[in-house]
Amino acid sequence: MGPTTTFPYLTTLVLLPAGAAVACAVMPRSMGERAQRRAVLAVGTLAMVAALALAVTIAVEFRVGDGGYQMQSVHQWMPQLGVSWHLGVDGISLFLLLMAAVLFPLALLGATVRQKSRSYVVWLLVLEAACMGSFVSLDLILFFVFFELTLVPVYFIIVGWGSGRRAYAAVKFFLYTFLGSAFLLVGIVAVAVIHDQQTGHLTFDLVALQSTHLGLASQILLFLAFTAAFAVKAPIFPFHTWSPDAYSSSPTGGAVILAAVMAKLGTYGVIRFDLTLFPRAVVDLAPVLLTLGVIGILYGAIVACAQRDLKRLVAYSSLAHIGFIVLGTFALSTEAVTGGVLQMVNHGLVTAALFLLIGWIWDRRRTWRTDELRGLQRPAPILAAMFTVVMMASIGLPGLNGFVGEFLVLAGTFLTHRWWAVVATTGVVLAAVYLLWAFQRVFHHAPGPEDEHTRDLGWRETAVMVPLVGLIIFLGVYPKPVLDRITPTVTALVHHVDVATGRVQPLVANGGVAAAASTAATAATGGTRAGTAASAPTAACRHHGQSAWVDGRRVVCHVAVTTSTRRLP
């Protein structure tokens, strides 16, 4: 077990929104409709902002260069069943936490609902608690509970505040993801039982289960069971058809959270659990998943070209972006996985911004159809400007966040699976096509009589967009602080996969992953900018991690032992 911090940051982060939800739920009706509405909104906002502050504190306290779990809190929960309250954060979950913490208050403030706002806020708070819990759980049952808990609020949000065929969409979403989860539960129990048989110790703790010995066949079966749940949640092609319905029937706030945060539970689950528990199956089945990712990239982009409904368009473009994340994850090189993790954050920010903007168009015009809107740039220049920036980020324009993630994913995939990378690269163009077409239909040309009087963004909506656009630009211009925190964890994870599968000759002769990561951190403090670039292998070691590529050789940094190997094709 790693060091436990004095203040239980993570537990607080999970319980804070949950507590606020309870507070809102028990708020007396006697105080009057308006007063209750205001109070609920105030409590909700306050709790979400407090959670954001807490998440920022966690990011500040986070030790750079440490690839392991930090700020762990371990408590007994159901010792007879081997279930514990084990939370921890590492480089993979840190920015997902932050992203979720940023998006929840913006979703609440950016898309208010007209009626039954108390239950709406309560459900959003429950959802935040569940999402946070999923991202920090290191106990499989605990994760499963949070993972399943997310379904309930979303179901009620779609049914209660949605539009169109909301009941159909909600049931489809619920059943589809629930079906996937059934496989996950079976998988989780199976892993724990196998571990129990081997060690006589029943536990669902991820760190303990990591050492379970699994044959290739059982790894593949368990991998498929886990991945079924994650593939539906993400969604990965061909399990995506619930998403256009669910996104377009959700209210704006629900769509934001559903697409931006909850979709990441799927891709996060793959990285956190599949790569950790079933490395051999991951390597064996990587070509299948890579292919699904590449199909998702192209298929999502092409189908998006045919959409006339902005929300469905974003749904299919999400499929393409998730494809990049899948590609990065299963390319299994440090660069690609890092890019994949970053891409999760990028996609969250961009999709949230897009859904908010589209929601505001709906508020004004009651339509999402591109053929019923035109020339909006004239009456609403701020809306158009914000949309342009977000669209360019989604296209992957350099200087904005989408580029960094995509570039790292593609470059990293070239290292290990070149042909998939070559095909995926063409997806870069298609994104430009469908978004530009849609943008031009909606914003350009002379506005029609109805379009003429479309209200521009108000100060409140602008205030919601500014942090998102700021983050989109910041991550595009200066991703280094984020990458510095992601990379050590990813390096350790990729190393874990390498060692478990014998994919690469052992990189580090002794000391193990943790030691290597910490030495990389020491090297970082000692001065990273060695003048003579490739002359000494250690000069290539930046504080990003313990390995780097120098002119064709993978150079691994270690204080005493420096081995350089070339990755096997």
């Binding site: 619930w242 070209c305 440090t334 570039f407 163009v429 914003f443 990003h544 590529w549 002119d551």
Partner: protein, 625 residues
């Protein structure tokens, strides 16, 4: 010796920062936009000159294993000064052309951001950074070409430019991937030529595709034709010294890669030569002045590409500089007429030079230079390019020479038409494209004079003393030094072609077939629409239906199947379940009756029962242990 790193940051940061500020300022910055834009462009020019002298280099961490590195070497020094000079001239012109109330802050802001992107591309010494500048240029060009966004065709022109160049940019992504896979993980440009075998080819192909796309070479030329829908200053900046020139620059910069690949050089050289000839013919057929200039841009950039393929780096760079000055001048002059007379149709512009003599004189200087007449700039530089082609392959030289003669045809044709005597009913053709102001402002005239001086004066490149110094600055291989007969031959051919055109242009008609093909730019866009866009649309609607019917249909089918199974189960099973429940209940009742039987109320029977139970328990415990 390298100069201070801050100089690079300032050179890029100044236009980027001021451009962003103007763009964000929006309507509030409207009045400030023009002076601030010009001041920023002037300061950028100063910084560019300083950078050319001090040759700074800079680097910053970008992401794992890749640093953002910039360096100004000889080639970059020439490029930054060229880009900044043309940008300054164009922005001064824009003060007169983009009137106040026309979203000036957006215009000047975007232009400055564009310049910053171009400066990033030409100072980058690393493929990732180059790609960043390269793509940012493409996106900004979308916004600039579609500056008048209320007009749908202009916006679509912008989108065509962006999407076409971006499609070619996939090449740069592939090249970057090849570099990473081939072991040049630092993505340094100078490392590309040393990639191992399969990656070298992929990188070369990618770079060539990206460069040909950006430079509107065959077969990508059509986007430049559509891009003429944009404002004149945009054409003057994007389609002379920057965007299209970037492709030529990339090939010049990466000539070691072309050389190392073995096949890259001839491919590039012939692509350039073919474009120089074919697009030259397209230019001859144009009836619209800006379309003529656009086609000639493709053709002239073709010479730069030819130079890169032939290894004449210094000659190609000189051609790039001379063309930048000449073509921006011509676009601005066309823009001045468009602003004053409201037309850019060559027929309607007959006599325009007589009406606005300064514009006419400047335009003529540019046209004569473009025609390759001695002793003007493009004559000198083109001959240097041709000389390097001759050293490579006589056929290349012949093709290039043909291109040179064609350039005399279209430039002199334009020059002659604008000097025709003013017809009495000339004003009937005016104001067809916008409302003309009937005056050319001082803001517009100044840059014309300066650029005309450059277009003429750069002919000094023909002097060996000058070209030697220039070649040393570039420090590239194979500085082509044209022999006397080459200079004489090209000059003679250009003079004959120019004279003949001047004499007979009003009487000669372009053959109809050639005219139609040229006018439509060889149908390249129609071909792209037929081969790429329409299949994409068809695939999109087909896959959308597939998604709905098959993929989602499968899901609905499973759900429906489950539902049907449940109904079936309900019909068959309800009886059974009831029976089971009934049976269980009956069994329980019977058990209850059995359980009642031991309760006799007699104590000795209870003791006996307890003893039996204990014995059974002991037996179980023993058995289990």
């Amino acid at each position: 010796m390298t100069g201070p790193a801050w100089l690079i940051w300032a050179l890029i940061g100044l236009p980027l920062g001021s451009g962003t500020a103007l763009g964000v300022g929006g309507r509030r910055a409207e009045r400030l936009a023009a002076p601030a834009g010009v001041a920023a462009a002037a300061a950028t020019l100063g910084l560019a000159a300083a950078a050319a002298v001090w040759r700074p280099a800079a680097s910053a961490p970008l992401f794992a294993g890749v640093d953002a590195t910039f360096a100004v070497d000889g080639l970059s020094a020439v490029m930054v000064v060229t880009v900044a000079s043309v940008a300054a001239a164009v922005l001064v012109f824009s003060v007169g052309d983009i009137r106040s109330g026309e979203a000036r802050s957006r215009f000047f802001g975007l232009m400055l951001i564009f310049v910053a992107a171009m400066l990033v591309a030409v100072t980058a010494s690393n493929l990732a950074v180059l790609l960043m500048g390269w793509e940012a240029m493409g996106a900004t060009s979308w916004a600039l070409i579609g500056f008048w966004w209320r007009n749908r065709s202009r916006m679509e022109a912008g989108a065509t430019a962006f999407v076409t160049t971006r499609a070619a940019d996939v090449g740069l992504y592939l090249a970057a991937g090849a570099a990473v896979a081939g072991g040049a993980g630092s993505l340094r440009l100078d490392a590309l030529a040393h990639l191992p075998s399969p990656w070298l080819g992929l990188a070369t192909a990618g770079v060539i595709a990206a460069a040909l796309g950006k430079s509107a070479q065959l077969p990508f030329s059509f986007w430049l034709s559509k891009a003429m829908e944009g404002p004149s200053p945009v054409s003057a900046l994007l389609h002379s010294a920057t965007m299209v020139a970037a492709g030529g620059y990339l090939l010049l910069r990466l000539h070691p890669l072309l050389w190392a690949s073995g096949w890259g050089q001839p491919v590039v050289a012939w692509a350039g030569a073919a474009t120089a000839v074919v697009l030259g013919l397209v230019a001859v057929a144009q009836a619209d002045l800006k379309q003529l200039l656009a086609a000639s841009t493709c053709a002239q950039i073709g010479f730069i590409v030819l130079a890169a393929g032939a290894g004449g780096v210094a000659a190609g760079t000189a051609q790039l500089v001379a063309h930048a000055a000449t073509k921006s001048l011509l676009f601005l002059a066309a823009g001045a007429w468009l602003a004053a007379l409201g037309t850019k149709q060559l027929d309607a512009l007959a006599g325009a030079a007589r009406r606005y003599r300064l514009v006419g004189a400047a335009f003529t200087a540019g046209a004569l230079a473009l025609a390759g007449l001695p002793p003007l700039s493009l004559w000198a530089t083109k001959d240097a390019v041709l000389s390097s082609a001759l050293a490579r392959q006589p056929a290349l030289y012949a093709a290039g020479l043909a291109g040179a003669v064609i350039s005399a045809l279209y430039s002199i044709r334009a020059a002659r038409l604008v000097w025709l005597p003013l017809a009495p009913g000339a004003s009937a053709g005016y104001d067809t494209e916008r409302a003309g102001t009937r005056r050319v402002e001082g803001w517009m005239q100044g840059p014309l004079v300066v650029l005309a001086a450059a277009a003429v004066g750069l002919g000094v490149y023909a002097l060996p003393e000058v070209s030697n110094v220039f070649d040393n600055v570039i420090a590239g291989p194979g500085a082509g030094r044209p022999a006397g007969w080459e200079l004489g031959l090209s000059a003679g051919l250009a003079l004959v072609a120019a004279g003949a055109t001047w004499r007979w242009v009003t009487r000669l008609r372009v053959p109809a077939a050639l005219g139609a093909a040229g006018w439509a730019w060889l149908g390249l866009e129609a071909a792209a629409a037929l081969l790429v866009v329409r299949p994409l649309l068809r695939a999109a609607s087909g896959l959308a239906r597939f998604d709905d019917v098959v993929v989602d249909g499968a899901v609905r089918g499973v759900a429906g199947g489950a539902l049907a199974a449940a109904r079936l189960g309900a019909r068959l099973g309800e009886v059974g379940v009831d029976d089971v429940v009934g049976a269980v209940a009956g069994g329980a009742r019977r058990l209850g009756g059995l359980a009642r039987r031991p309760q006799t109320g007699q104590l000795h029977q209870y003791y006996a029962q307890a003893a039996v139970a204990l014995a059974v328990l002991v037996a179980i415990v023993v058995a289990v242990r």
